[in-house]
């Protein structure tokens, strides 16, 4: 088993490298940082524009190949992603924002996945009953609602809640209230209150998707011969459904986990913007607007790492869940 995973890890590392290099090349081709400086008020002299571009390593008089090699040397060998178009350090910005995004994505994903798996399994067991139909309708409604609409609906709901209760219990702007200080618990409580809505919007999205997949995978298992065997042994309903049913029905889910994460990341771009979180998603949108090559590459690295890392986690999970692949690989 370890050798199988080591191989997968190596495979992922190669993919990551390729993704990073390609995203640099693509960003350099598609974005035009010169236009950003030329549009500045008051106008900059052409010499000043060139000076800025050279400082960023984005001088378009140099051939792309050389810029790339230079960038690769700096970024890949020394871990320095350069400067943003406004002259601050990309690495520092990265460090500041990564925590914000992870906090937002992780809680939401974990919550949504667990709830989705349970909801899917439960509705499969209750196929065609009222509860199954209700969950089905709700998940399809959620799946067909664009993330930003969902976020706005949640926000509206929160405003209504705050107004009717006459409190400001649910906070939905930023990740903390300005000027809150006090003990550890006060700060933590404040952060949690801010996390509530964004987490919910990420979680609901995950829940809707996973509950569908889990339902169909569980339905397959429910009709299987081995579930009948488990019943014929005289096992109780719980043991049959959980130990034999859900346990086996989780296997195909591990594949969805890795790809689902990508969709969540895309969704998070909107979630961050709407709830005023200064995370990776917001950075991505802003830096494209500013033709900021180095920042765009940084966000792409983040996306690639999360996707590949969740892919690797999915492999781990798959190997842990399914003895058949452990032996043959």
């Amino acid at each position: 088993m370890p050798s199988y995973l080591v191989k997968r890890l190596g495979y992922h590392a190669v993919l990551l490298l390729a993704a990073v290099c390609l995203s640099y090349l693509l960003a350099s081709l598609a974005l035009d940082p010169r236009s950003y400086y030329e549009g500045r008020q008051p106008p900059l002299s052409p010499a000043a524009v060139d000076h800025h571009l050279t400082a960023l390593g984005l001088d378009d008089h140099q051939p792309l190949r050389e810029r790339f090699l230079h960038w690769a040397d700096r970024a890949l060998l020394h871990g320095d992603l350069g400067r943003t178009i406004d002259g601050t350090s990309v690495d520092a910005e990265f460090g500041r924002r990564i925590g914000v995004s992870l906090r937002l994505l992780l809680a939401g994903t974990v919550l949504g996945t667990v709830a989705g798996v349970l909801a899917g399994a439960w509705t499969a067991v209750r196929q065609y009953r009222f509860s199954d139909r209700a969950v089905t309708v709700i998940s399809f409604a959620l799946l067909s609602t664009p993330v930003f609409l969902l976020a706005i609906l949640l926000k509206t709901g929160a405003i209504w809640f705050n107004q009717t209760t006459g409190t400001d219990l649910i906070q939905f702007t930023g990740e903390k209230s300005p000027g809150v200080d006090g003990g550890f618990w006060t700060v933590l409580g404040d952060r949690a209150v801010h996390l509530l809505l964004p987490t919910l919007s990420v979680a609901l999205f995950a829940l809707a998707g996973y509950s569908r997949y889990q339902r169909s995978s569980m339905l397959d298992v429910l009709g299987s011969d081995y579930l009948r065997t488990a019943r014929a042994k005289g096992l109780g309903r719980r043991a049959v459904l959980l130990r034999h049913g859900l346990r086996t029905a989780l296997i195909p889910m591990s594949t969805y986990f890795s790809y689902g994460f990508l969709a969540l990341f895309t969704g998070a771009t909107f979630t961050e913007t709407i709830f005023g979180w200064h995370g990776m998603g917001e950075w991505f949108v802003n830096s494209i607007g500013k033709n900021d090559v180095n920042s765009v590459v940084a966000v792409n690295i983040f996306a690639a790492v999360t996707v590949l890392f969740s892919g690797f986690l999915a492999d781990l999970l798959h190997a842990a869940l399914d003895p058949r692949i452990r032996k043959t690989s």
Binding site: Y226, T229, R231, G234
Partner: protein, 599 residues
């Protein structure tokens, strides 16, 4: 004394459609009741209703009492207490019947713990004992294996061990050997009888195979269209059947001890295969594939088919029968050995010659539904090979009705689709398609093994008639020796990719010389209770499973399971271990061939 199991007036419907009607059965303690019938007659549904395991869309009425307790309509909780404890079940397909993610030993231990208040460790120990009891070698080690690491036979043994875990009074076995090869079937039936002896349980044995029932059941019930048509002791039902249906069923079963008509003389050789080999690489790796081993799928097959003759190619699953056929039909140079079709050696053909040869050799597949395009009317299906050979419209329009009549179908049905035909009729369509281009050699890959006996008899008759009328030659692949005896003139037995014995059917069946052929013939159950029980006493039971085809063997590859080997002297054994026994036409690939009567 009241019977252990008492089923009265059982009716089962699936959404309003009757599956079982007015079934009455009783089973005494320690008794074995055989339930026979053709596919869809309601055998499984009857067995499943006893433990309340019917699918959700089924409704059952009537009464099923186990030792006086009413089971029909009992709550899930009450049934859970009985399942596995008072009554246990053995299912047909042993791969899908085990949960793939849990170890075999754990799944058996779970059954032990389901009704006994004992610790995890004790249950594991008991599971190992049970595996030992059903003849799994190294049970402590094998208990840790996952279901996919077991062979079919071993899984079925484990399934029986699991049924024994709760020391039930009743074992319901639904086609416990149907998915298995004959030699493995003989082992499993033996284990089932052991299990019955050990636990003193009564057994309801469901099977479509009259031979299996004859050798094991004390009493027999015959089902048809959801009803029991006849019930009695095994001797009564097999020797003095009252119902015409039972008589018909018994008459349709091909028997391995049936008398044979003398065979007409045959013509020149149409197919000659010598030392055919074919290997497949075992690949590993996700991105870069590496070859880590070799499967020796066909490793020395010899065949001779003459005009007007049926050669049966016999062997257990995985022995390389289908691979051999595919190699022949490729019409390309074989990987090893030589193939001559109608005197032309494969590998040296021009494209035009290959095309001409392709017409002269046609194939009929095992599964009639899977081999016919469901969206094509059968007329077009039959015409397809004709069109490929460039026949014009008029020729097609003339041939199709002719062919349908020839295989016993109504020419007016040419515009119907495959799903509108029964299994046997679909197989006739497959045969008509093969015959459309007037071939001289027909390759038949298990053509009747998916069919019920009565339907099977019809298709076999058709094949026999066509051979005579059209002067065809057949290469007939089968694992069923009774069918082979019924249809073939000559037989060739393969073991692990290699021909071990060949000869005229009369000769080989009466005086098999290779120990493997002897075991194979001896394993076939006879639909005759007395003779079958007598055979059981002298049955040659092969140990274990066929070894892996991924390695090469020094000497005789049958050595690990050969019953004769253990009786040989040390010097003789050395010879088996070092020299590969050669195979000559109509011989046996054994250093110490001894003809022995096993039928």
């Amino acid at each position: 004394m009241s019977p252990l199991l008492d089923i009265t007036s059982l009716d089962v419907d699936f959404g309003g459609e009757a599956a079982v009607r007015d079934v009455n059965l009783t089973l005494d303690r320690g008794e074995v009741l055989g339930l026979v019938g053709e596919s869809g007659s309601g055998k499984s549904v009857t067995a499943l209703s006893v433990l309340g395991l019917l699918p959700r869309n089924a409704t059952a009425r009537g009464s099923i009492r186990l030792d006086g307790t009413e089971l029909l309509g009992a709550g899930e909780r009450a049934l859970t207490r009985i399942r596995g404890d008072r009554a246990a079940m053995v299912f047909q397909d042993p791969l899908s019947a085990f949960t793939p993610v849990h170890r075999i030993g754990d799944q058996i231990a779970e059954a032990v713990r389901a009704h006994r208040d004992i610790g995890r460790e004790q249950a594991r120990t008991r599971a190992v004992e049970l595996l030992d009891l059903v003849g799994i070698p190294e049970p402590a080690l094998r208990a840790k294996a996952f279901p996919h690491e077991f062979s079919g036979g071993m899984r079925q043994r484990a399934m029986i061990a699991m049924a024994m875990a709760g020391e039930p009074d009743l074992i319901l076995a639904d086609e416990p050997t149907t998915a298995l090869d004959v030699t493995i079937q003989a082992q499993i039936l033996d284990v089932l009888r052991t299990a019955q002896r050990e636990t003193g349980a009564a057994v309801l044995l469901v099977s479509h195979d009259l031979g299996v029932i004859a050798g094991t059941a004390d009493r027999v019930a015959v089902m048809r269209d959801g009803r029991i048509v006849e019930q009695g002791t095994a001797a009564e039902v097999f020797h003095r059947p009252r119902e015409p249906y039972t008589r018909q069923l018994l008459a349709a079963v091909p028997r391995i001890d049936a008398p044979r008509e003398p065979r007409p003389p045959t013509g020149g050789t149409v197919l000659k295969v010598r030392g055919l080999t074919r290997t497949f690489p075992v690949l590993k790796g996700t991105v870069v594939k590496r070859r880590t081993g070799t499967v020796y799928a066909v490793d020395g097959v010899d065949l001779d088919v003459r005009r007007g003759e049926t050669l049966a190619l016999v062997g257990e699953s995985g022995s390389g029968k289908s691979t051999t056929l595919f190699e022949l039909l490729e019409l390309a140079a074989p990987e090893g050995g030589t193939v001559e079709l109608f005197g032309q050696r494969l590998g040296s053909l021009t494209p035009a010659e290959a095309k001409a040869l392709r017409r002269r050799v046609q194939i009929v597949f095992q599964d009639p539904m899977a081999s016919l395009d469901p969206r094509m009317p059968v007329g077009d299906i039959i015409a397809e090979p004709l069109r490929t050979q460039g026949a014009d419209r008029a020729a097609v329009a003339r041939r199709v009705p002719e062919l349908l009549t020839q295989v016993g179908l109504d020419p007016a049905h040419a515009d119907r689709f495959p799903h509108q035909f029964s299994g046997g009729q679909r197989q006739r369509v497959g045969i008509a398609r093969a015959l459309s281009v007037a071939p001289e050699l027909l390759v038949l890959d298990e053509p009747v093994s998916a069919l019920d006996v009565s339907v099977q008899a019809g298709v076999l008759d058709l094949l026999r008639r066509l051979k005579e009328e059209l002067g065809l030659a057949y290469l007939f692949v089968s694992h069923d020796l009774s069918v082979v005896r019924n249809i073939a003139d000559r037989v060739s037995v393969v073991y692990l990719g290699r021909t071990v014995e060949a000869g005229p059917v009369d000769e080989v069946f009466a005086r098999p010389r290779h120990p493997y052929t002897q075991a194979l013939l001896s394993a076939v159950p006879l639909p005759d209770p007395e003779r079958e029980r007598e055979r059981q006493r002298s049955r040659i039971l092969l140990a274990g499973d066929p070894p892996s085809p991924t390695r090469r063997y020094d000497g005789c590859r049958f050595r690990t399971r050969c019953p004769l080997y253990v009786q040989l002297t040390v010097d003789e054994q050395k010879r088996c271990a070092h020299d590969v026994p050669g195979f000559e036409q109509d011989g046996a690939a054994c250093h110490f061939p001894r003809a022995r009567t096993v039928l």
